[in-house]
Structures are given as structure tokens and as C-alpha cells.
Amino acid sequence: MSTYYFVIVGHNDNPIYEKEFSTVNKEFRKEDQRHLSQFIAHAALDLVDEHKWKTANMQLKSIDRFNQWFVSAFITASQIRFIIVHDNKNDEGIKSFFNEMYDTYIKHSMNAFYKINTPIKSPMFEKKTEIFGRKYLLS
């Protein structure tokens, strides 16, 4: 019973990739849930931006919290923000997931046809996210 909402946020606070992972069946998942996750993720950006200058790490760990939701973040060298809103502790898994996603993101951004800050619509990227999500977050 855990849900993860993963989002990559661009420089203008614009989401460029969103993905949800959940062990809960689809019927139980509510649209509200996703919406709230978006709001929480957005609100956490202030803290991400504060923390990113305070640490040399890319992993920002769990930086924010709202009710039962935790917000973990990762910041890339180009200041792209990876955020996961989750409702259970899984520091190790999230850390690995972030690292793998960073790798994937870097590869994707190497694509000459991809413009930074624009939504990612690659099926390959989608597939990789799916794999890593299942491997590190839901296992």
C-alpha cells in the first residue's frame, strides 16, 4: 500500500514528466490524489530551491512533508528538479530510483531533438521509468 508520484520539474516550475507508481489498484486511486500530489510537489519547490544551495549532494533526501506525504527531491547539474511525493519511507529505493532516472534523463537530454524544459514524450523514457519504478519503488 504505497503510492509514489514522480515528477520532473523544469526551470519555469513546469512539469516536464509525470508518473505515478502505486501498489493500489487503479479503481481505488483517485484523481484527487494525483492532484494533491501535484500541489504538494509544487509547494515543495521552495524548499528544494533552498536546499540545493546548502548541500553539495544531488540527493536532497526527504525535504518536505504534508500530512502523510513526504517529498523527496533530487537535483541535476542543470538544475532540473526530480521530485517524488510518497507516503511511506523508502530512502534507499528512492535514492536508487533517482540515480537511475538521472542517468536516463541525461541520455534523453543528449538527444539533439530534445529541447530542455519541454515535456518528455519518449516511449523509451516512459518504459525505463516504468522499469525503475517497479524495481526500486514498488518492490
Binding site: 520539474v9 519555469n12 516550475d13 513546469n14 512539469p15 492532484h35 501535484q38 500541489f39 504538494i40 509544487h42 509547494a43 515543495a44 519547490l45 521552495d46 524548499l47 533552498e50 536546499h51 546548502k54 518536505d64 512533508r65 504534508f66 500530512n67
Partner: protein, 1314 residues
């Protein structure tokens, strides 16, 4: 007590069991005396506002205590105070309400009584803690007249309290003021009041400090009462607890009484004591106290912020300049380092620096508030001269607006003060301690808020976030409004540290809480306000243009937010706002929505706007927020915007004027008047064409409807700037996804520059101004500029002829407004009346220029069309609605003569052939001296009569016949001529400005062939002054034609038949020939000199002359019998061969011939007898202007059988004595030559004598000399020519042509038997 309850109810505050958190509290409030400042009686807040301000301004006083030290006493005025908060007064003394000030307004005694009662009831309510109270009463203005006021004021001002008396049970001290009183002494009175409070407090403090440690009672927090029931109070632990708590209480009092140093040490001690007994709650309290005391010394400016904040909030909520100061601090880390300087010895410096820093910020950031200025002024004076504060103050107390604890700050900071970074830790510890007690949740919440405010001051946003975060997890049972309030305060604090996104999150939460389901009284107004407030956090702003421009933020959240906002606005009943926000949503988030969402939103907008139509005007909310207009610029989506020129026939043109002389050079690099023209070129949006005032103009817009349903756009108009423009509304229904062209019309009312900015629409119930500059993603210029010129008249044109069915394909056919068609036979004349009506209502038609363009050559065109320009100009001007007409004369000009083939074969062969015919002697009955003929004949039955008896396969000249060339078809088949009568017209102001319009009438002229001259010849007439022009005329019409060829001769020709007519014509006079020769010589000379081009031969000129001569004299009128169609065929363009020319022109040789010594008369009968010698004498005179050279005179006798046969073989019948061929080398001007010979006829009969004189070209003679003279081309007699004279002749071009001059008519001799 009843009154209290009544008051409580009237204020609508039902107090919860637990005290409400005081969200506004900060650490420095620990040191303030709490005073309730309350307006009583009927609400007249506005009137009393000034009094409130004055009271509130007294936030601190300086008091000299009994030992002579100056103490700064702070006051905190609050508006409301739950009574049970007083219960926490033992726990933290600053929670206790010490003073009460009421302000009220009365008009009469009963009202005053009521005010007094309210004051008293408040006193009763807070009686347990209240030290002192004051009532401020504002009475009515002096009832007397104005003049008496002046008198009385000067003498003895009438006091209010003399007129009105307080009830007997009113025990408080009251101040009376008139309503308009300046209340000059109010501040000092409040100062006195505060000092009174201080002295009571001081006495309490001293009392407490003198208590014996063994005797102190246990101080309790309200909820602790039950916990200690039955406990051994005398135990060692409890004793310690008692002492510790009392010590803490004393510290609180000391802090309030301005003894910060004492308070600090007492807090430390109490903290030590209480920690040992594990009294967590009170340990927390001491820790908080320590923080408060330290903060008081470290951050005195926090009070100012509060003051400023409060003041500025009166002016404009939410935009306090200090709100953004944390951002500034974030920018500079310098302050932060100073603040967190670890060395306590540096404390003084730190504080001073900080103070300066603060001064800077307050100076720079807020000049609006008067009190802040006062504050900073005091601040600087206090800090610069610390001693002055004590010397200048009176012994009792001084009043200052907001003095700082100057003496303390400039002295050494106490050693036990908490360092800046320790404060956070202590607060953290305190909060942990509080959190152990469920009932201390309020205290905990407040502590967290105080801590975060301190952290804001210290510029530690992460700590602020941490404390604020913590607040959410404090399990505090509170009412929903309280919860909302909590979110709002969190929002505010986040905003202060610049965490806009966090702030927006909580703001939105608060907004949702206001209206959440199950809420008794959903406050949509608050919800709306908060939603709007959170816009910045989501990177939205109210102006759609800016949002679209930035294109930042999280679209899903933005859409959600705007939708909530729309809901709130709708629930508020403010449908204009709802419509506006919906429009905003569609406009800004269109690209971020799926097609279904787009259509859903569009339908929603339609529903919303049904209640209130959206229009592009700013909306102003009650709180002054301006909602800028939102326009649906891309609904429908504009693909194309084209400014259209006027229709071609209405298009204004420049009237061409003769170019001003700009010097002797054709080209000059200096542009005299083209500077502005160049500038215009740079103007990309400048339209090249012109619009005309009062003329309907058009812009074509291509629109696409992006919605899946039909979109109705009504009232679509052009948006313009500049000159006045009347737009015509347009309504269209756009099918989904189909680009549609929409014409938008309008009329410029003035002249000048028109600025087309876009168009306005009314769709989905929303009016929008769609400006080109706001249409993104298309390369539109921001506007289009069109020049509007003064009004031009308009005309309607009619013709008297039927219109054509087909349109002409001439160029500029687009200006044609009407057409006329006409069919004419060649040579026929007709006319067409063109009627022009001036259609304009006011403008006269003052200028009209007519010219004709056609697909034929100018010269021919001039012959076909004729307009009387002068008569037309005389009819101008045409008044408005007036009419003029003019006539176009049309003549069907055509070539009636078959054109000559281009080959010049005939030229060279003509003389030779002529010689042959002479030699062969075969004659023709009707054409006795046929020596030349046009080379071009048609195969017709008639021509067969020109049979030749010539042998040797030579083409017969007479029958020489060539197939008509394709190019000559034109005259035999119908010919189409297209012409345009172009009318340029203008009038009024536009004429002075040099503009006109052009329209055209298209003429379609069909020319049918009528008569055609297929062949022609020239024959000598009976008299020498005339010749016969023999024409073969064919009737090419389908009707019988009556041909009138001389004055009285008519002939009928059947359709498609032809006939031959002889026409006697006067010969071309010698003078004309001479003139032509002179002109030719001159021309040749010129040509030779200048151009060295090919020289004209005289014969060309002469031929032309003769051709014109004939054309002039011979007119053939024809009439189609049975109709009134008649015409005239001219012989213009007839081509004459050399021999024809010789016949046409008068011969240069004058013949005088005598036979038997009698001069021969024409047609005279000459008789001679057989065998008798007859003398033939021929005398030649050169009448021409030139000498004639190389002449050969020949005499030939022949017999004409009158059947076409002529017999020249008369060797057996006639004999000559003397030569019958005589060469005359030169015959000078006017020279005569005589030749006489005798003839003997051997047989009787009729004989004819052909006498002629020929010239031979010189070149042939030359050839003759070089070649054998056997060539058929040479004249045998040429051997007679003297060779030496060759050079002489070479100069005369005339001599190059062979001429034959005959004596006409031939002599006829009848020979009779003897």
C-alpha cells in the same frame, strides 16, 4: 455579569474551552503590557479612527524608576482578548490583560450612559487582572453658532463634562473630547495611563521579589489544577517547583517592567531549578522567556516592523513594502553573518550594525508611513547620543512615538544573553517541552510562530519552514475559522521569507477550508480573495497577456486554481468575474488543455456569460484589485489578416502631371522629395495602397474555429486607431476546423492615417478585442497603417449600345464597369452615346479625362474611334447626381485593297517582262498597252480573261496570281477589335490632392468584310490628263450590294460576286511629283549624312504619292440594297507598280506628234494611201525639273485585230525609213528633241502606232558592258548608250528605275488604196 454575556454575544465570539492561539504574537510581546483598546457603542470606527491611531502610537514610554534608572515600558494594544487567556497569566504574565481603554462617541446623555455601561461591563469582565482603565468619550460638537465658538474659546472653553455627566456607578477615569477636537493631550494622557499601569506592575514585581522562598505558593497553568490535587506540596521537589515557577513569574514581570537583565538571569535560574524537577511545561516557558528577553535585546527592530505593518496595512493590505524585505536579506548574506556572529563580545557591534541595517531598510522601504520616519529619527538620535534620552526626559515619564531601548543597547549586552543561533535551539527545546502537554497546544503553536518570526528576522528560511511545518502537526482542536486563520498566518509567514509556492499552497488550502463541504457558512468571499492571492505562487497573474508571455508554471495546477476561482466567483454571485476568469482560463491555458477540455470550458464559458456578458474592460474589486480584461484572441483562430484594396474601378490613382523640371540631368543621385518615400519603405506594416474617405473598405480575415461545434461570432468589427472609422458589424457561423474567409467592412470618416489594430469579436458571450500584436505564433505586424485620402466622386456609366456577352481579355480589364458591342461592315460608320451619372451626393465631378485603348495600332485606332474632347470638357463640372453624355464616333476602318505580298519578285521582273510583251507584240483588246500590273492577283473567273499569248512558260504578268497570304485574311473575314474607353475622373478635395479614379467602358467591335478590291490596274484614258483605274471589286457580304463608284455610276454586285469597274481619275500633277522628288532628295541627303542607312528610292516616294493621290480621289460608296447599311471603301494603301506610277503621274515628256505634217489629235482619224510615204514627226520636250537620261524612243506599228490579238509582224506591210529606235542620251530640262521618220504602208488597212519612250537603269547598262548582250533581261537598244556618260548618271537615283512613257492614245492610221 449579564452585561458581559450580552457583550460577548454581541461580538459573536463563543469562547472555546481552550484558549485561541494569538497568531499575531511575537517574542517581543513577552515584554509588553497588554491593554485592551476597544471601540464601544454604535460602530463609528471611521470617526474614531484618528483617536485609535493616537492611542496606538503610544507604544512605549520611558519611566524613571525609584532608583533613578530609566526603564522602557512597552504596551501592546489589542482589540480582543478572550477572558480565559487571563488564566494563563500566571504561566506567562504577558497574557494577562492589564489595562482597558474604550473609545466611544455619544450625541446625548443616554448614549453616554450606554458607553459608560459598556466600559464598566468590560471592566467587570476582565476585573481579575485589570490594573487600570480609561474611557475616551467623543461628544457632539459645540451646539452654539460659529461666532460664539470663537468668543467662548477665547474666554472660557465650554467643557463637555459640564454638559454631560457620567452615571454614578461609572468609576473610571474619562476623557471628554469634542468630535472635531484635535485631542492634543490624548497621547500624554495615555502615557500617564501606561505609567500608572507600570507602577502597579512594578509594585507587583517588588512584592513578588520580596516573597520568602519557603512561603511561595505553587503557580499553575490552568489545566494543571487537577494534576496537583492530593500531592504533597511540601516535598522537596515541589518546593523547588514552587520556587522555580515563582522565579519564572518574577522574570516575566521583570521583563515587562523593563528590567531585561534581571529577567535574563531569573529565567536562567528558573530554568535550572525547574529542569531538575522535570517540570517540562515550565521549563519550556523559561526557555521561551529566555528567547524573548534575548530577542528583545537583539532584534528591537521587530517592534518597528509591527508598527509599520499595522500602519501600512491601513493604506493597502497585502502590499506592505516590508513584506519583501526578507527577499532582500536573502540576497545579501552579509547581514546573516553579522547576525550569527558567535562572539558575545562582538555583541554590541553586531547590534549596532544590525540597527543600522534596519535603519536602512526602513528608510528605503517605507517612506509612506509617518510613524516610521519618526521612529527612525528617534532611533538615530537615541543611538548616537545615548545620554540625551535620560537627560531630556522628565522625572516621571516621557512619551515617544517608538523609542528604542537606547540605553541598554548601547551599553554592554548582558553576558547571559542567548546568542542568535541559540534562540532557535531554545525555541525548539521549548516547543518539545510544550508538546508533551496536550493542553499546551496553543502555547506550543504560539511559540512556533514566535520562533519562526525570530527566524525570519535572522534570515533562516529553512528554520522558518521547519517551525511552520511543525505547527501543522500540533494537535490542536480548534474551530474551522481558527484553522483557516492558521493557514493564512502560515501563508503570510511563508510569503515573508519569499516562499511563494509554499505560501500559495497554504493560501489555497485556506481558501478551500473557507468553503469546504459541511461548512455552516461557507465564506466564498474570503475564499475568492485567497485564491486570487495565491496567483503569484503559481506564476500566474491577472493579465492574460503577461501569462501568455511568460508561459511558466505548472499548467495543471494553474487550471485547477482558475477553475476554483471561477467557482468562487460564481458562488459569490459575481458573474462578471466568473466570466472574466473563464475567459482568462481559455485564453491562457488553451494549449495546455485537451480538445475535450477545451470544448467543455468553452461551453462553460457560454453558460457563464449567459448570466453576465464578458466585455474587455477592467473590473475593479471591492478591495481595489483591478482585474484586467481578458480577450479571446485565438477563438476563433485568426490565420490571415489581409487589408484589401478598393475595387479596381474605384481605386484612387495619382493624376499624372507633367514632371517638374529637376535640372538638365535625366538621372540624379540627389533625391529631392523621396526622403519620406524611403522611410515608408522601411515601414513594413504600411499598406501600399490607399483608402478613400466615405468609401466602404474591406479587410479579409481567415478564421478557423478550433472547437468541435459550430461557433457563432457576432458583432465582428475592425479595431482601429487614428482617423475616425465606422466599422460595420459582421456575424458569422464558423464550422469546426474549417478555415473561413470573413470580410470585415468599414468606412473611414476622416482623412489621414488609419491604424488597423485587429478586430473585435463577440463569441461565447464574451466580447473580445483581438489585436494583431497579441496574436502569437503568427507573423503579424502589430498593426497596419492605411492612408485615407479625401472623398472622391463616383460615377455610373451607361452606353447606348447593348452589352457584350463575353469579357474582354485586355489588360486592366478589371476597371471595366460596363461594355458595348457593335458590329459594322468595313467602311460603315456608327456612334455610341456614353452617359455618365455622378452618383455622389455632395461631390461635383470636376475632372474627366477620356482616352481609348485598344488592341489595334494607335493610328488605326484614331481612325476608328473619335471623341469630341472639347465638347466633353465644356460639359464639366457635373453636379452631384447630375448626368452628362458624350458620343464616341466609330468608323469601321479596314483595308479594302488586298495587301501586297512581301516578296519583291515583281520588281525585278517587271521591266523585263514588259520588254518581252513589247517584243512579242501580243496585245489585249481591252488593255491595249498593258505593260505593268500589280504582282498580286486573285484566282477568279474574271482574271482568266487576262490571257496571255506569251510563250516560253514565262508567268504572264496579267495573269500573275498568287494565293492570298494568311496575313491578308483579315480583310476578308470578320475582324474583332477590343477597345476600352477609359474615364479618369475626380472632384472635390481629392482633385486638389491630385487623386482620381479610373473606370472603363469596354468596346467590342466586330468588323465584317464588305467590299474588297481584289485587283487593280491603271490604264491610259482617252485624254492625257486622266487615266482609268480599273478595279476588281468583290462583294464579301451575303447581300446584294449597290456600288457607287463615280458621281453617277452605280453597279449592283450579287453576294459573293465580284465585278470590274473602271474609274476615270485625274493624273497626278507634275508639281506634286516635283515636290515629292525634292522632299525625297532632301531626305536622302539627310539620311546619307546622318545615318548611312539604306537610301529610299525616288520611286517609293513617287509610288506613295500616287497611291495617296488615288486614295484621295477615289471613294467607293456602297449600300447593301434592302437595308440602310452603307459605307465607304477607300483605296488607301493601294500599291502601284512602276508602270502604273508612270501612268498615274503626268508624264515628264511632252509629246507633240505630227503625221503628214498635221499634228495628231487624240482619237483623230489619220488617213494615208498605200505606197505613199508618210512623214511621222515626233517632238519630245522634257517638262520635268531634271534632265532625263538614257532615253530610248521607239516606234512600233501593229495591227489590232480587236479580238485580243495584236500583230506586230508587219514586215511585209509597213516599212520605215530611218530608225524606229532612237537613243537619246540626255534630255536636259525644257530641252526639246525632234525625230522624224517616214513610213510607207504596203497594204491598206488599219494600223496603229505605239510610240513610247523608255529609260533603262544604269546598272543594267553596266552589266551589259561586262556580259554578253544576249541576256534576255537586256534591252537590245542599250548598246547605243555612250559609255562615257556613265559617271554622269550615277548620281541620279531616278535613273535606276526603268520608266515607260507612252504617247496616249496610240495613233491610228487608216491606209486606203490609191
Amino acid at each position: 455579569m449579564r452585561a458581559t454575556v450580552g457583550l460577548m454575544l454581541s461580538h459573536g465570539s463563543v469562547e472555546p474551552v481552550m484558549s485561541r492561539p494569538d497568531y499575531e504574537q511575537n517574542a517581543l510581546h513577552h515584554s509588553s503590557l497588554l491593554v485592551l483598546l476597544r471601540g464601544v457603542g454604535p460602530s463609528r470606527a471611521r470617526i474614531l479612527q484618528r483617536a485609535f491611531e493616537k492611542v496606538r502610537r503610544v507604544n512605549s514610554i520611558k519611566v524613571n524608576d525609584s532608583s533613578g534608572n530609566t526603564r522602557t515600558i512597552w504596551v501592546r494594544f489589542i482589540h480582543e482578548h478572550p477572558v480565559e487567556h487571563n488564566d494563563w497569566g500566571d504561566f506567562q504574565t504577558h497574557r494577562r490583560l492589564l489595562g482597558l481603554v474604550t473609545i466611544g462617541k455619544f450625541d446625548n446623555q443616554p448614549e453616554l450612559n450606554e458607553l459608560c455601561r459598556l466600559h464598566e461591563s468590560l471592566k467587570v469582565r476582565y476585573g481579575s487582572t485589570l490594573y487600570e482603565s480609561r474611557a475616551i468619550f467623543f461628544g457632539p460638537d459645540e451646539p452654539n453658532g460659529l461666532e460664539t465658538i470663537g468668543e467662548e474659546k477665547s474666554s472660557t472653553p465650554r467643557r463637555l463634562q459640564d454638559d454631560y455627566t457620567t452615571p454614578s456607578n461609572f468609576k473610571s477615569q474619562a476623557f471628554f473630547y469634542r468630535e472635531q477636537d484635535s485631542c492634543a493631550d490624548l497621547e500624554s494622557r495615555i502615557g500617564d495611563f501606561v505609567s500608572a499601569l507600570f507602577w502597579v506592575l512594578e509594585s507587583r514585581r517588588l512584592e513578588r521579589s520580596r516573597e520568602k522562598a519557603e512561603k511561595v505558593s505553587l503557580l499553575l497553568a490552568p489545566f494543571e489544577k487537577r494534576d496537583f490535587v492530593g500531592l504533597d506540596m511540601e516535598s522537596r521537589n515541589n518546593r523547588k517547583r514552587c520556587v522555580g515557577r515563582v522565579m519564572k513569574n518574577l522574570a516575566d514581570l521583570s521583563l515587562q517592567a523593563g528590567l531585561v537583565d534581571d529577567a535574563l538571569s531569573l529565567y536562567h535560574n528558573a530554568n535550572e531549578t525547574l529542569r531538575t524537577v522535570g517540570d517540562s511545561l515550565w521549563v519550556g516557558a523559561t526557555e521561551e522567556g529566555l528567547c524573548a528577553a534575548s530577542a528583545m535585546l537583539l532584534y528591537p527592530q521587530m517592534r518597528e516592523i509591527e508598527t509599520l505593518h499595522r500602519n501600512s496595512s491601513l493604506q493597502e493590505a497585502g502590499t506592505s513594502p516590508l513584506r519583501h524585505t526578507p527577499e532582500k536579506w536573502r540576497a545579501s548574506d552579509a547581514t546573516k553573518k553579522v547576525t550569527t556572529a558567535p562572539e558575545s563580545t562582538n555583541g554590541e557591534v553586531t547590534v549596532q550594525q544590525q540597527q543600522q541595517q534596519q535603519r536602512l531598510t526602513s528608510n528605503s522601504s517605507s517612506c509612506s508611513s509617518v510613524s516610521s520616519l519618526v521612529t527612525t529619527a528617534n532611533n538615530s538620535s537615541a543611538s548616537d547620543t545615548p545620554t540625551t534620552s535620560s537627560t531630556t526626559t522628565s522625572s516621571t515619564s516621557t512619551i515617544s512615538a517608538a523609542p528604542l531601548g537606547g540605553s541598554q543597547r548601547n551599553g554592554e549586552l548582558p553576558g547571559n544573553i542567548l546568542k542568535a543561533e541559540e534562540i532557535t535551539n531554545y525555541y525548539r527545546k521549548a516547543i518539545i517541552n510544550y508538546s508533551k502537554y496536550r493542553h499546551a497546544a496553543t502555547i506550543e503553536t504560539e511559540a512556533a510562530l514566535k520562533a519562526s518570526r525570530i527566524c525570519i528576522e535572522q534570515n533562516r528560511p529553512l528554520d522558518v519552514a521547519m517551525f511552520l511545518q511543525n505547527i501543522l502537526y500540533i494537535n490542536l482542536s480548534m474551530s474551522e475559522p481558527e484553522r483557516v486563520k492558521r493557514f493564512e498566518i502560515i501563508t503570510d509567514l511563508y510569503q515573508q521569507i519569499g516562499y511563494q509556492r509554499k505560501a500559495a499552497f497554504f493560501q489555497r488550502l485556506a481558501a478551500l477550508k473557507h468553503v469546504q463541504q459541511g461548512s455552516q457558512a461557507p465564506d466564498w468571499h474570503q475564499s475568492y480573495r485567497l485564491m486570487l492571492g495565491s496567483f503569484t505562487g503559481y506564476l500566474l497573474c491577472l493579465d492574460p497577456l503577461e501569462v501568455v508571455e511568460n508561459a511558466a508554471g505548472w499548467p495543471a495546477l494553474q487550471i485547477d486554481l482558475v477553475q476554483s476561482l471561477i467557482t468562487a466567483a460564481r458562488r459569490l454571485g459575481h458573474s462578471a468575474l466568473a466570466t472574466r476568469h473563464m475567459t482568462f482560463l481559455l485564453q491562457t491555458q488553451w494549449d495546455n488543455m485537451s480538445p475535450t477540455e477545451q470544448s467543455e470550458m468553452a461551453i462553460q464559458l457560454q453558460n457563464l456569460s449567459a448570466q453576465c456578458e464578458g466585455s474587455p474592460v477592467p473590473l475593479v474589486l471591492e478591495n481595489g484589485t483591478v482585474i484586467p480584461p481578458a480577450n479571446l484572441t485565438d477563438l476563433p483562430y485568426c490565420l490571415d489578416f489581409q487589408v484589401k484594396d478598393l475595387p479596381p474601378h474605384l481605386r484612387p490613382q495619382r493624376i499624372k502631371v507633367a514632371k517638374a523640371d529637376s535640372g538638365p540631368f535625366l538621372f540624379t543621385p540627389i533625391h529631392f522629395n523621396s526622403v519620406d518615400r524611403r522611410d515608408k519603405k522601411k515601414d513594413k506594416n504600411k499598406i501600399a495602397f490607399l483608402w478613400v474617405q466615405n468609401d466602404l473598405s474591406e479587410v479579409c480575415v481567415r478564421l478557423r474555429n478550433p472547437l468541435p461545434f459550430e461557433l457563432t461570432v457576432t458583432d465582428m468589427r475592425l479595431l482601429t486607431n487614428g482617423v475616425v472609422f465606422e466599422s460595420l458589424p459582421q456575424t458569422i457561423v464558423l464550422q469546426p476546423h474549417v478555415p473561413t474567409y470573413v470580410p470585415l467592412h468599414g468606412t473611414p470618416i476622416e482623412t489621414g492615417q488609419l491604424d488597423l489594430q485587429g478586430y473585435s469579436t463577440h463569441t461565447l458571450g464574451v466580447k473580445s478585442n483581438c489585436r494583431l500584436k497579441h496574436m502569437r505564433g503568427r507573423s503579424f505586424p502589430p498593426n497596419y497603417l492605411v492612408e485615407v485620402i479625401p472623398a472622391l466622386p463616383r460615377i455610373a456609366v451607361k452606353t447606348s449600345l447593348p452589352q457584350t456577352a463575353t469579357f474582354s481579355n485586355m489588360n486592366s480589364a478589371d476597371i471595366v464597369v460596363t461594355s458595348a458591342s457593335l458590329t459594322l461592315y468595313n467602311g460603315e460608320s456608327s456612334s455610341c452615346t456614353i452617359t455618365i451619372t455622378n452618383e455622389s451626393a455632395i461631390l461635383p465631378l470636376e475632372y474627366l479625362e477620356v482616352n481609348i485603348n485598344s488592341n489595334v495600332e494607335q493610328e488605326l485606332q484614331r481612325k476608328i474611334f473619335r471623341i469630341d474632347e472639347e465638347a466633353l470638357q465644356a460639359k464639366l463640372p457635373v453636379p452631384p447626381q447630375g448626368t452628362i453624355d458624350f458620343v464616341v464616333e466609330v468608323y469601321a476602318e479596314a483595308d479594302f485593297v488586298c495587301p501586297q505580298p512581301p516578296s519583291s519578285v515583281g520588281h525585278s521582273s517587271a521591266p523585263a517582262a514588259g520588254d518581252y510583251s513589247l517584243m512579242s507584240g501580243s496585245g489585249h483588246a481591252s488593255l491595249p498597252s498593258r505593260v505593268g500590273s500589280p504582282q498580286h492577283r486573285r484566282h477568279e473567273p474574271q482574271t482568266s480573261s487576262f490571257r496571255s499569248t506569251m510563250s516560253g512558260g514565262q508567268p504572264s504578268l496579267a495573269a500573275l496570281s498568287l494565293q492570298p497570304e494568311p496575313s491578308s485574311i483579315g480583310s476578308q473575314f470578320s475582324q474583332h477589335i477590343e477597345a476600352q474607353v477609359r474615364l479618369k475622373y475626380s472632384g472635390g478635395e481629392a482633385l486638389t490632392a491630385g487623386y482620381c479614379r479610373q473606370c472603363a467602358v469596354s468596346f467590342n467591335l466586330e468588323l465584317l468584310p464588305s467590299a474588297q478590291i481584289t485587283s487593280w490596274d491603271v490604264l491610259p484614258a482617252e485624254i492625257a490628263s486622266q487615266f482609268y483605274l480599273v478595279l476588281d471589286i468583290s462583294n464579301l457580304t451575303a447581300q446584294e450590294m449597290s456600288l457607287n463608284y463615280t458621281d453617277n455610276k452605280n453597279i449592283l454586285i450579287e453576294a459573293k460576286e465580284s465585278c470590274r469597274v473602271p474609274i476615270p481619275v485625274d493624273r497626278c500633277s507634275l508639281e506634286q511629283v516635283c515636290a515629292a522628288r525634292a522632299a525625297e532628295v532632301a531626305e536622302n541627303l539627310e539620311r546619307e549624312l546622318c545615318f548611312r542607312t539604306q537610301l529610299l528610292s525616288f520611286n517609293d516616294a513617287l509610288g506613295k504619292l500616287c497611291s495617296e493621290h488615288i486614295a484621295e480621289r477615289v471613294k467607293i460608296n456602297w449600300l447593301l440594297t434592302g437595308t440602310d447599311i452603307k459605307g465607304m471603301a477607300s483605296l488607301r494603301g493601294i500599291v502601284l507598280s512602276q508602270s502604273m506610277v508612270d501612268l498615274t503621274a503626268v508624264s515628264p515628256l511632252q509629246w507633240s506628234i505630227s503625221f503628214q505634217d498635221t499634228p495628231v489629235q487624240p482619237h483623230s482619224e489619220l488617213v494615208c494611201t498605200v505606197g505613199q510615204r508618210a512623214l511621222l514627226s515626233i517632238q519630245l520636250t522634257n517638262d520635268s525639273m531634271q534632265p532625263l537620261k538614257n532615253l530610248v524612243l521607239s516606234i512600233k506599228f501593229y495591227q489590232d485585230y480587236l479580238n485580243g490579238m495584236e500583230n506586230y509582224n508587219l514586215e511585209t506591210r509597213v516599212a520605215f525609213s530611218g530608225p524606229n529606235r532612237i537613243a537619246i542620251p540626255i534630255l536636259e530640262k525644257q530641252e526639246q528633241t525632234q525625230h522624224t521618220c517616214s513610213v510607207i504602208f504596203f497594204t491598206p488597212g488599219r494600223f496603229k502606232a505605239g510610240i513610247e519612250c523608255t529609260t533603262n537603269p544604269q546598272q543594267q547598262q553596266q552589266q551589259q558592258q561586262q556580259k554578253k548582250p544576249t541576256s534576255a533581261r537586256f534591252c537590245p537598244s542599250a548598246t547605243n548608250v555612250v559609255e562615257g556618260q556613265l559617271e554622269m548618271f550615277s548620281s541620279s537615283y531616278d535613273e535606276q528605275q526603268a520608266h515607260v512613257w507612252k504617247f496616249i492614245p496610240p495613233i491610228e492610221v487608216t491606209v486606203v488604196e490609191q
